[in-house]
């Protein structure tokens, strides 16, 4: 019922792309379970799944490439990438935050092969063989990337719980568009919520980072 809503070519091009925008596009209007399932399972995928009788159950071993390191975990197939990072890797990777767990807030944003995704919407078993970059992989307190440094300078954070998501989103966006306008920054951040109300300074931080140096 919902296929016609999305551009066919777009869908075919990105069969395995759990990109945030594309997912939200499917969610936005209906938010109905059917629509989501329909959206995520393209015909090709459904056929592929039908042809592969293997069912993952119990727990499985996954090897994830997190911030350049091979990390192993034993998880149930239903475990999200977010919960795997936070609850199953040892030591834990807790930069990405669990806030809504349903792909509405952006606090769990990580980069999957360089593209921002909501890690609460990705299963760990689907994230193997992909390069996963979390906020911790972008820089450290001592050696921050330009976006992280700008967030501190411009006071783009208060409680800081949304910050990893914003930093990750903006870091990826500036690679795509190194010289954005304010309107473009706002557009890039629309998948991330902040509750303290730091938005104006998040925008300033993004613009300052773009101006300052490469990310």
């Amino acid at each position: 019922m919902t296929k016609s809503r999305d551009d066919r070519d777009d869908q075919n091009k990105a069969n395995h792309d759990p990109g945030r925008r594309r997912f939200l596009k499917g969610m936005g209007i209906a938010g109905a379970g059917a629509a989501i399932a329909d959206h995520l399972w393209t015909d090709a995928e459904a056929k592929e799944a039908a042809a592969t009788p293997e069912t993952l159950s119990g727990s499985v071993r996954v090897v994830l490439d997190v911030n350049g390191k091979q990390r192993e975990a034993q998880v149930e197939p239903r475990t999200t990438l977010l919960n795997t990072l936070r609850n199953h890797l040892d030591p834990a990777v807790t930069g990405p935050k669990l806030v809504c767990d349903v792909g509405t807030c952006g606090a769990c944003t990580v980069l999957l092969d360089g593209k921002p995704v909501y890690s609460c919407l990705v299963l760990a078993v689907d994230a193997t063989n992909k390069k996963i970059t979390t906020v911790e992989g972008l820089g450290t307190p001592e050696n921050p990337n330009a976006v992280q440094a700008a967030f501190v300078e411009q006071d783009g954070l208060m409680c800081g719980f949304c910050t990893p998501g914003f930093v990750t989103t903006i870091s990826a966006y500036l690679k795509k568009n190194p010289n954005p306008s304010l309107a473009e920054v706002k557009e890039a951040c629309k998948g991330n919520f902040c509750r303290c109300g730091t938005y104006p300074r998040v925008f300033e931080a993004a613009l300052a980072a773009a101006k300052g140096s490469s990310v």
């Binding site: 149930e76 936070r86 930069g95 935050k97 809504c100 606090a107 911790e136 820089g139």
Partner: protein
């Protein structure tokens, strides 16, 4: 045998002052006796080296790199994950809980019932589960079979007020009188002298704190003599007492820590339901338990800002003098009493009479939310003020100045008008041409923001030169860590980097919970006191090396310690300290803080009159607050106040289903928070004309007036008076379609 009486210290001179005490985030004024204060003050606001400057947050790098460790990030060896089973019914008796199937699921370690046999709101906790993963805990919730005897419920105020409405609590009226004030006859008589009268009903929806870090705790108890609790809390010292009772330990055996916390906005005090359940699960399993609410839990059981329903009638003379006000105010706090400031809030309105009631529904109790009760009262009275001004064709800014006694508002209103470009405003509501209509509105707000004498601060200077300031307080994202360091660094003539802070631990010096904007005015005087004392202790030590000056003659500046024309580096100076360094103990001084803040907000919006869509264009908020400890973070808080109000004014509101008794929008997909695309140009202004050399809390003052300013701007743009928040397109279109029917009144 007679005991020798102990030598009594000479009593210090005392004075009485009024200070706010915060009970669950609600401010109450009490009179206390304190020592007559002496000692150096802050000095002029424009003479500081670090304070009143733009200091980046000391915890900023950790947060930006994602390595700041929040409660939600704690993961302890063998830790179990807990989840809460919620009632689907708004009112029911629990007759049976069958946990057999759930208990058999591998990985489920404990199932406990919640302490209620009757649930009075949908989402009420029924049971809690601890399991080896959160996913398995979720399975267990689905496997628990609960038998309910369903009872009648009511979730909407207009239904709950009917005499035949289902009773929220058996044998008790849903409507409870909370107070009357003024003389109804005098007010009634005064209306006769009015040239114009405005009567309206104003409603604010319940809104949610929506803290990004949900409520929750990690209880680290393994059956021994001690426990540690990691809590997402606004009060480090509000947890361990009740937790100790739950765990069967002594209070001092329980330590609470809160290194960083992901938002509270008034909703996170005390052990709470989540902490109680976590303690019980941990006690039963002798294993650490983490219980963080899910987002759904957070919406339906972590509290909210109470709604309001206010019936106001005011009379005004042609010259702008308000002669009378009658107000009937209903606080819509669900099971709780709710909160609402009494009308006429801060305006002079001649003869006034008000009645306040709590009107109960089958919803979870509201809890404190940033300036409890004030945005509700402010929205109603600022709308009323606007209506009165338009009715007598007086400029709304001028009209406010006429009816506000305090001249601080006068200057702030004039400045705000200038900043927003009030002169560009079309005085005729809806008078601009075209489908995109712009308009402007304004409003004012007040708050206390005074401190109290709870904070005990230690400053330790070690012989290696390091400086540590320690106190158990918590940083909610307000910048507490940063100014705590800055006060000490400035006093000792050091840089921010030379001082470190240790906070967020109940084994450190006591500190007040962060409610009522009391943290900065309570904490900073104690920090300052400790810093001054440390400076004096150190001055005594180095005096012999500097030609024996009096301690107060020793100057600490720019990393040097000097006196009598001699100077030494910090490293040389600290070498004079004993092996254990020195530690000073700071206590609160009332003269270093004050109370009473003023703020005004101006807003410009653009309304598409074909769709009813409101686009915020610009917001200006001017806020005084005595000595700004840190301009950068203070501006951020002002922005935050404006943005949270923006949500309340235009988008946010809990939607309840009358039949099901459930919330229909318990998630960010349906509960609309302000997002990046809606943020207008924002101008946070610190009112430097406030010359008080005292610290005052501002976090709440700056959230109050924006709701009124925005909705008044919608009126100026369209001619539609929306009397119910959020001012969504449906209400605006309704008003546009039939100008004779004011939206919902």
């Amino acid at each position: 045998m007679q005991q020798q009486p102990q030598a009594q210290p000479t009593p210090k001179p005392k004075k009485k002052i009024r200070v706010p005490r915060v009970v669950n985030g609600v401010e109450q004024m009490v009179e206390i006796e304190v020592d007559e204060d002496t000692g150096p003050g802050w000095g002029p606001n424009d003479k500081h080296k670090l304070l009143n400057q733009r200091l980046t947050r000391v915890d900023g790098p950790l947060k930006a790199a994602g390595v700041a460790r929040y409660t939600y990030d704690q993961r302890l060896p063998d830790m179990l994950y807990a989840r809460v089973l919620r009632s689907p019914h708004a009112h029911a008796r629990i007759t049976k809980i069958d946990t057999d199937a759930a208990a058999k699921i591998p990985g489920v370690k404990a199932i406990i019932p919640a302490p209620l046999s009757e649930v009075r709101f949908a989402g009420a906790p029924v049971a809690a589960v601890a399991a080896t993963t959160p996913e398995i805990a979720g399975d267990a919730l689905r496997a628990i079979k609960v038998t309910y005897e369903v009872l009648p419920h009511v979730v909407h105020a207009h239904a709950a007020i009917r005499p035949d409405a289902p009773k929220v609590v058996a044998e008790e009226s849903n409507l409870q009188e909370k107070g009357k004030n003024g003389d109804p006859q005098k007010a009634e008589a005064a209306f006769a002298t009015a040239d114009a009268i405005v009567e309206g009903e104003y409603i604010t929806s319940r809104i949610h704190h929506a803290c990004l870090e949900t409520h929750g705790m990690v209880v680290d108890f393994r059956g021994g003599d001690t426990a540690t609790i990691y809590a997402s809390t606004q009060g480090t010292f509000t947890i361990h007492g009740d937790a100790a009772k739950e765990l069967g330990l002594t209070e001092s055996a329980v330590t609470t820590t809160v290194e960083h916390m992901g938002g509270g906005f008034g909703s996170k005090f005390g052990l709470g339901l989540e902490g109680m359940l976590a303690c019980r699960l941990s006690k039963q399993t002798k294993t650490p338990v983490k219980l963080m609410f899910t987002r759904y839990d957070e919406f339906v059981m972590a509290g909210n800002r109470s709604g309001s329903w206010q019936k106001l009638k005011a009379g005004v003379k042609k010259d702008g003098t308000i002669v009378a006000l009658q107000a009937r105010q209903y606080r819509l706090g669900g099971l709780g009493p709710g909160s609402q400031a009494g009308q006429p809030y801060i305006y002079r309105m001649g003869d006034t009479y008000r009645e306040i009631y709590a009107l109960h529904t089958n919803e979870d109790s509201s809890v404190a939310m940033r300036a409890p009760g004030h945005p509700q009262a402010s929205f109603a009275v600022e709308s009323l003020m606007d209506e009165l001004a338009y009715k007598i064709k007086m400029d709304p800014v001028e009209f406010r100045i006429k009816n506000l006694r305090d001249e601080v508002y006068h200057r702030q209103l004039k400045r705000g008008a200038q900043e927003i470009g009030w002169s560009r405003r079309n005085p005729v509501a809806g008078g601009n041409a075209g489908p995109y209509k712009r308009g402007m509105g304004c409003a004012v707000g007040t708050w206390g923001g005074g401190g109290n004498d709870q904070c005990k601060v230690d400053v330790t200077i070690s012989r290696d030169g390091s400086v540590l300031v320690a106190v158990g307080t918590q940083d909610l994202g307000t910048g507490t860590r940063t100014y705590t360091r800055a006060i000490v660094a400035e006093e000792l003539g050091l840089t921010i980097k030379d001082v470190h802070e240790r906070i967020g631990n109940s084994k450190l010096g006591n500190a007040n919970p962060s409610g009522g904007s009391t943290t900065a005015p309570s904490l900073s005087p104690s920090v300052k006191d400790a810093a001054i004392k440390a400076r004096m202790m150190m001055a005594e030590r180095v005096a012999p090396l500097l030609g024996n000056p009096k301690p107060e003659e020793v100057v600490f500046a720019e990393g040097k310690v000097s006196a009598k024309g001699q100077s030494m580096s910090w490293a040389q100076a600290v070498a004079a300290l004993p092996a254990g360094g020195i530690t000073s103990h700071g206590v609160w001084r009332s003269d270093l803080q004050a109370r009473g803040v003023h703020g005004v907000c101006f807003a410009e919006v653009e309304v598409d009159v074909e769709t009813g869509h409101v686009k915020p264009i610009k917001m200006v908020h001017i806020q005084d607050g005595g000595l700004p400890l840190n301009r950068l973070t203070m501006e951020s808080q002002i922005n935050g106040g404006m943005i949270q109000s923006l949500g309340m004014a235009l988008w946010e509101g809990r939607v309840m289903d009358a039949h099901l008794g459930m919330q229909l929008n318990p998630g960010f997909g349906d509960y609309k928070l302000p997002g990046s695309l809606e943020i207008p140009e924002m101008v946070p202004i610190i009112d430097d004309d406030d010359k008080r050399e005292a610290v005052i809390g501002i976090a709440e003052g700056c959230i109050i007036p924006a709701v009124g300013a925005l909705v008044n701007a919608v009126f100026n743009a369209t001619g539609v008076r929306v009397r119910e928040t959020p001012a969504t397109p449906d209400k605006i279109l309704m008003g546009l379609m039939n100008p004779n029917i004011l939206s919902r009144g």
